[in-house]
Subunit: 135 residues, 2 copies
DNA sequence: TTCTAGTTTATAATAATTCTAAAGTAAAAA
DNA sequence: TTTTTACTTTAGAATTATTATAAACTAGAA
């Protein structure tokens, strides 16, 4: 990925490429592998590795804007903090509750043979598998 | 279930059967089907249907004590509130994010054919399946 | 360059949960 | 039965993650 893609990604999401958004987008999307993060971990990185300042509200705003634009997804894990995911494909997770570590599992690595049908007038949106780990 | 069981359940968990704990335990466990609740929904019920008073901290304390004793489990769902479950068996869930409704799926209703092996020195504790619903 | 809508920022507000320490109570000890 | 003890409840304060506010700032259109 190049800076041009970042700008395109922002523009196509209706987001002006401000200094802060470009910095955040570069950190989140200019890499080979997807990853999981919290607003706190993102802030830690930004304040350490970036010259410009980031109000916490800006980080929240930007992350939510990316999520709304479909560039980020959210993962439900126990605990107070919200986890975001730069992997926006349908996939599953290993979860180590002791370290709060999330590891992606590609959709193809899980095969489900039998599943109940959705209740009443409802439909299945997607199926998520969490594999909880211990040591 | 009778009141005796409630008292036994409390005692065996190292919990003195106080007025508050007995009331909460009766509401949670004296029924045929398991269910899901939040501290808020539990408080609403208690203040409506019980004569004695419940400090919010007592409800939190009691619910956590029951969880620690293994009488309750916790379910991870998106959102700020913690959901508890009187079903303490391994099982799966339908989840309707629009209504925040959780519906149990018995373990036998889901059959998984293929699953990746746990990373490095870790072991699989359990596998949870979430089926997200839409209308 | 000027204008405007969108953006960042510091700070306040909110919401769920946990902490505190004083007052109350179940059950053991006397 | 009374006393004693440790456990419990309670109101309110504190904490934590997140969202709201409204003033100052800025990208991009005009
Ligand atoms: Mn959110
Ligand atoms: Mn908890
Ligand atoms: Zn992921
Ligand atoms: Zn359940």
């Amino acid at each position: 990925m190049k800076k041009v893609d970042i700008l395109k990604k922002l523009r196509s999401s209706g987001l002006r490429p401000t200094k802060q958004r470009v910095e955040i987008a570069k950190f989140l999307f200019e890499r080979d592998k997807t990853f999981h993060f919290t607003v706190e971990s993102l802030e830690n990185h930004l304040t350490k590795k970036s010259t410009c300042k980031f109000a916490l509200a800006t980080i929240y705003n930007t992350v939510h804007a990316f999520k709304k634009a479909g560039h980020l997804s959210e993962v439900d894990v126990r605990g107070k903090k919200t986890y975001f995911d730069t992997n926006i494909t349908n996939h599953h997770h290993f979860y180590d509750s002791e370290t709060s570590e999330l590891i992606d599992i590609d959709e193809s690595e899980v095969v489900i043979q039998k599943i109940p049908k959705a209740p009443n007038g409802k439909k299945i949106k997607n199926v998520e598998v969490f594999i909880n780990l211990k040591n």
